[in-house]
Amino acid sequence: MPSELKLHKEKHIQYIDSLDKKQSDFEYWLSEHLRLNGVYWGLTALSLLNAKDTFKREDVIKFVLSCFDDQYGGFAPFPKHDGHLLSTLSGLQILATYNSLDALTVIRREKCIKFIKGNQLPDGSFQGDRFGEVDTRFSYNALSSLSILGELSSDVVDPAVDFILKCYNFDGGFGSCPGAESHSAQVFTCLGALAIVNKLDRLSDHQIEEIGWWLCERQLPEGGLNGRPSKLPDVCYSWWVLSSLAVIKKLDWINYEKLRNFILQSQDEVKGGISDRPDNEVDVFHTVFGLAGLSLMGFDDLVPIDPAYCMPCSVTKEFKVYPY
């Protein structure tokens, strides 16, 4: 192991900047269905690196607006694709990061709110779109989106919270729906959503201790974190696990130095970008979550990130605090 690992900030900025210039790669086209999410990951990574201006603001906003699905409401991940709660949150996060939520017309804003609320089911859960897949990821998408728009209300929040609490498991984790196995990413969506709507007090002290215990057991001897027992470490869990620990104020229950080393070893030192684990292919998803993890731990002079929203604190401090 090299004795002094460092974060290659400039390389990462160049890597993210290069992503939209790869039209001659097949992969570029194969990932259109994730484009809006990708822009959010890239922009957030750049924000953490204090290099937001790398993207042209006007172009990005224009692209975001071109993804709006006027038929069903909400944002699609790419023009002419379909609105979904996953891409809707990304669209709103990008606009909020640019402080330009008012770029949405009043009509579209209303459509968007209707789309989000319209996907809530009688048991408080959310489907991602009209085809019925239910997942606590979508509960998070919906509550975070409504919070960004300043449109949370108890008729939506209360049943949503009841549903999330039903996804709590005996081991101290949360799953994708009641009865589903605990998974670090689902723990983030559940705790993040509870934090956003200010309902963490619905968890008992005992539950918080159990959650903290389960989360800190995700750290493996090599320093990286895994998503479930007996699975390999992966840089993206630097975010899912750490943000969850931060939300319950137990961030230091894992070892920072070791995790930092794992993230830094997963960098591509030549081309920039961060991969899921050392020596694998990099992507923008692992790049942002690696950086976000480092930011939460306070390393490398990164811009501070909000663990519940996964956006810079400077942006989220402007959001109205629920209950309004």
């Binding site: 694709h81 379909d82 019925g132 498991n169 081991d171 229950w253 899921d276 292919e281």
Partner: protein, 326 residues
């Protein structure tokens, strides 16, 4: 991207990739533009269904195309022959075998089964065999287990009969194959309370006795594995145990488990010169339970915590927290 090795590209490989990519991009963009055009105009036909299949084979994550496919199926429902539904399930299965972790494919399969004419219990029962096969290929597939629970609940809704017992036995099989399969332990921890609540167990005390033997055996089999310990932690604290056993039996059980853990820990110490971190963590849990039952034994949590800080330094701050708490 998960689990893809970083490659070093030389000039020759790059040229080759460029050529291949150019061809693929051309075909893909042409197909995409055709399908999205048809989708916009809501042109639903058997021909177009076929075209969407071609595109999904190239990119199974293209959600909007799955949506187009579903909207087409809804529109054409009256014209579709019985064999269409079987072919659709075959197509989805072929995709799942190549891409077992793509949410959209699993979602489409559930949709197809729900919309299958009559959605009879027979297709769901067949599905249970299929998902069991898939879980043989990857016994931890998160999507697979989730899907299995959807299938089970569909069968239960259609027959009105609980499958808790079968699922409990399924969890035993999976654990017997691989004791570290936490997905199976999870399923087990959900099935047992359900079986108790629905009165599906004749001799509850015998059931608990047997389960205790099972987990005792498990902790001796792999004392390093957290899956087993997480389950044991749940079991010892669970209402089903404390409600079934008398206080005397319960206290004795806790003490038996404790003695076994002490033996395992001592074995580890003799063998490797190091105590077993999970044994120590469990001893702390057991002391908490014993305290609730008014145990007069000397509390050794502080000593365990001190050792844990040394042998499991990653989680040092949790142990410091425990030390300050007691």
């Amino acid at each position: 991207m998960h689990g893809v090795k970083r490659r070093q590209w030389n000039q020759e490989l790059l040229e080759q990739k460029k050529l291949n990519d150019a061809k693929n991009i051309n075909n893909y963009r042409r197909l995409t533009s055709t399908i999205l055009g048809l989708k916009e105009k809501k042109e639903y036909s058997l021909d177009n269904l076929q075209k969407s299949k071609e595109l999904l084979k190239i990119n199974p994550e293209f959600n909007a195309v799955w949506n187009f496919r579903r909207d087409s199926i809804i529109a054409l429902k009256e014209q579709l022959e019985a064999k269409f539904w079987e072919e659709e399930l075959d197509f989805v299965m072929a995709e799942l075998k190549i891409y077992p972790k793509v949410y959209w494919i699993w979602g489409h399969r559930v949709w197809v089964l729900n919309n299958y004419p009559g959605s009879p219990v027979s297709i769901w029962k067949r599905e249970l065999l299929i998902v069991s096969k898939l879980l043989e290929l990857d016994a931890r597939n998160y999507h697979g287990w989730h899907y299995r629970r959807i299938v089970i609940s569909s069968i239960e809704n259609r027959t009105g009969e609980s499958m808790d017992k079968e699922e409990f036995e399924y969890s035993s099989n999976k654990i017997n194959n691989n004791i570290s399969n936490f997905s199976a332990w999870h399923q087990r921890a959900n099935m047992i309370p359900a079986m108790f609540a629905n009165n599906e167990i004749e001799d509850k005390k015998k059931f608990i006795d047997d389960e205790l033997k099972y987990i005792t055996n498990a902790m001796y089999t792999d004392a390093e594995d957290q899956s087993v310990w997480i389950y044991i932690k749940w079991f010892l604290n669970s209402d089903i145990v404390s409600n079934t056993y008398t206080t005397e039996e319960y206290v004795k059980m806790i003490d038996d488990v404790k003695q076994n853990i002490l033996i395992i820990n001592q074995d580890d110490l003799d063998f490797s010169g190091k105590e077993n971190a999970w044994c120590l963590k469990m001893l702390i849990v057991i002391e908490e339970i014993s305290k609730r039952f008014g145990s007069q034994e000397e509390c050794r949590t502080q000593e365990y915590v001190k050792k844990l800080i040394e042998i499991d330094p990653l989680r040092k701050n949790r142990y410091l927290h425990l030390r300050n708490k007691t």
